[in-house]
Symmetry: C2
Subunit: 214 residues, 2 copies
DNA sequence: GTCTATACGGCGATAGAC
DNA sequence: GTCTATCGCCGTATAGAC
């Protein structure tokens, strides 16, 4: 009976703790994605999470630390499947096709992510190491080896792997960062933008494969 | 003599006014480019320009208005020559070659510009019209017509002009927004990054031309 | 452990003296 | 045109109630 009570009490406490933390992270994530770090106030996060302002400083010691938690969370979630594709043992063409497809689908599901990441990268460049983000966002070691091997087999022309990967990433990601201007210029709705982006899967694949031909 | 004094007086007053305004714009531009709008305080701008804080609100009614002035100034300066190339009567291949080359040279001279612009675009999307920026950054009407004509002459394959222009822009601009990560991953110095970028002139040209082949 | 109340210095903006 | 004083909001720290 005693132990049971203890466990119940502990469960309830931890449940509340998780709930409160969860609520803070959830509210803060939405606000940071939508408005950016600097334009989101801690009072706003607290009010959205329906908690007291100073509770945030209890769970996360500062707004900055809360932010870093959320960055790692967002990027971790987004990059996992993509890294798997890049490091898989798929053939080169199929790997490129799947990478483009999955990356674009992920960004369609998280349309604010690219602008958020670019803002983070350019806000505190010196903190990049701390954010553990670099490796998840830009790691091409296996892919570079594969490009090298295919070249030696005479299947593709010689390319600089870093340049090639940056080309692929540029074609995939940049339109999301430029989204508002694309929508305004072409009078696109949200849905039409997504259609425009989906068309790009094949375009990007064709451009890259065409360029790789020996 | 009377008139002369008047003119002198007027000249001096206007000169001071221009100097003060110039100093504010100059200081603010540097700080906005380097640290972004939100992380730059008006007190910092004033201190850098060696003027009193409230003088800024005298010349520009608010920090926001000063910012918009600077955005239009920066983008106007940067985009002029580029628009001329795109709307010139150069042949398609030569136009693409020159556009890539001039765009990249401009961004090498203004390495902070792309991240600045992307931050602006995503900060207040609804204000895009007000900023007169859209037309300068993304206007492809003449270029689209040229692509159409070349296709009808059978000289290139059929392409969606908007997609093609976005591809070109992505390949040119994105690496600058991703600069810090590229430098970190490859241990690039500033100079090595510029070399990496300059290599891209030919790579991007080849990719685009290769893709256009019928 | 969880939460409230409150205080601090810095922020953008402005009214008003000179 | 220039400067001082001041306002309300911000992120953060902390003392203390429960």
């Amino acid at each position: 009976m005693f132990y049971l009570n203890c466990i119940d009490f502990y469960t309830i406490v931890m449940q509340n703790k998780l709930d409160t933390q969860e609520k803070i992270v959830q509210s803060a994530t939405e606000l940071f994605l939508e408005k950016g770090y600097d334009r989101t106030s801690v009072r706003e996060i607290a009010s959205k999470a329906k908690i007291n302002v100073s509770l945030m400083n209890y769970y996360f010691r500062s707004k900055e630390i809360l932010f870093e938690t959320i960055i790692n969370l967002l990027i971790g979630k987004a990059s996992g499947a993509l890294k798997d594709v890049l490091n898989s043992d798929l053939g080169l063409n199929e790997k490129i096709r799947q990478y483009i497809c999955k990356y674009i689908d992920m960004l369609i599901s998280n349309p604010l992510l690219i602008s958020f990441i670019l803002a983070v990268l350019n806000r505190n460049p010196e903190k990049l190491t701390k954010l553990k983000v670099a490796d998840n966002l830009y790691n091409t070691d296996n892919f570079a080896k594969q490009l090298e091997e295919e070249y030696e087999k005479g299947k593709i022309r010689k390319v600089n792997p870093e340049q090639f990967y940056i080309n692929m990433l540029s074609l995939i990601a940049f339109p999301f960062a430029f989204k508002h201007l694309i929508n305004k210029k072409n009078n696109f709705s949200q849905k039409e933008f997504n259609e425009f982006i989906k068309e790009r899967k094949e375009i990007i694949y064709n451009m890259l494969i065409c360029y790789l031909k020996p």
